[in-house]
């Protein structure tokens, strides 16, 4: 089995990361911004997997599992913050939360 060119795998990761970055920059809804951050984390994991597959070492998968742990912790805290903000401000607009006091 010849495998995939490493640059193609990394290119997919870069395209997904860029799409996630556009989502964070362009959307105003907090839920969609958090989803775009998930897309970016997943793209980073894909880059790690591609790198680990290139040198046939398990380290890429280990870094992917650590990224997965980070994503799980991040999304639970982020969603809890979104729920708290929604109960307080009655909106999901990111611009409405620019005054942190009260």
């Amino acid at each position: 089995m010849a495998g995939i060119p490493l640059s193609h795998g990394l290119l997919v990761a870069v395209v997904l990361f860029a799409l996630g970055l556009v989502g964070v920059l362009a959307r105003r809804n907090l839920v969609f911004m958090l989803m775009s951050i998930e897309i970016m984390l997943n793209a980073a994991g894909l880059a790690f997997i591609a790198g680990g597959a290139r040198w046939a070492q398990p380290d890429g998968q280990i870094m992917f599992i650590l990224v997965l742990t980070l994503a799980a912790a991040e999304v639970s805290v982020g969603l809890a913050l979104i729920l708290a903000l929604y109960h307080r401000l009655e909106t999901l607009d990111a611009d409405a939360a620019d005054k942190l006091k009260g």
């Binding site: 089995m1 010849a2 495998g3 995939i4 060119p5 490493l6 640059s7 795998g9 990394l10 290119l11 997919v12 870069v14 997904l16 860029a18 799409l19 970055l21 556009v22 989502g23 920059l25 362009a26 959307r27 809804n29 839920v31 969609f32 989803m35 775009s36 998930e38 897309i39 997943n42 894909l46 997997i49 591609a50 790198g51 680990g52 597959a53 290139r54 046939a56 398990p58 998968q61 280990i62 992917f64 599992i65 650590l66 997965l68 742990t69 994503a71 799980a72 912790a73 991040e74 999304v75 639970s76 805290v77 969603l79 809890a80 913050l81 729920l83 929604y86 109960h87 307080r88 999901l92």
Partner: protein, 166 residues
């Protein structure tokens, strides 16, 4: 297997584009699940079956279900979708998309320069090797990950408890 990689990559990119442009949160989440499943099949083609399984179980399963639960708890309804649609203007996408496209083109140029002789996925790395490496040289990382998850648990518990001063 090579064709499977390109098909999965196309599905992942297309469904991610759909996910970041939808106005309805549930539609976007379902497209995101498709994108993550496509990423899982990319992992499988690249010779990482353990990571592919974890992607399906944890990412497409647990994390996305958490999102769906929160969208259900927010109980947004039709009015939120209409408001979201008014926020998504084509004019708002031009600036971020142009800047990100420039950054993406730079990385693509660097990858183009190093395209020869690098092939990924010729060997399959089984879960056994990953586990041996995890509980050998990476044992400290496992402990740190458990601390991170504990911190996330405590923070989510504290934030989700609500405001008791009211």
């Amino acid at each position: 297997m090579t064709a499977a990689f390109y098909v999965s990559a196309a599905i992942a990119v297309l469904s991610t584009v759909m996910a970041i442009t939808r106005a309805d949160a549930v539609h976007a989440l379902l497209y995101l699940v498709v994108s993550l499943l496509a990423a899982a099949s990319i992992f499988y083609v690249l010779g990482a079956p353990f990571a592919a399984v974890l992607e399906v179980i944890i990412y497409a399963g647990a994390i996305m279900v958490l999102f769906v639960f929160v969208v259900m708890m927010l109980n947004l309804g039709q009015a939120a979708t209409i408001q979201e649609r008014s926020w998504i203007k084509p004019r708002m996408w031009i600036g971020p998309a142009a800047l990100t496209a420039v950054l993406m083109a730079e990385v693509a140029y660097v990858l183009w320069a190093s395209r020869k002789g690098n092939f990924a996925g010729a060997n399959v790395i089984e879960a056994e090797q990953v586990g041996i490496a995890f509980f050998g040289p990476y044992l400290l990382a496992v402990e740190l990950a458990s601390m991170l998850l504990l911190a996330g648990l405590v923070a989510a518990c504290h934030l989700g408890r609500g405001d008791e001063r009211k």
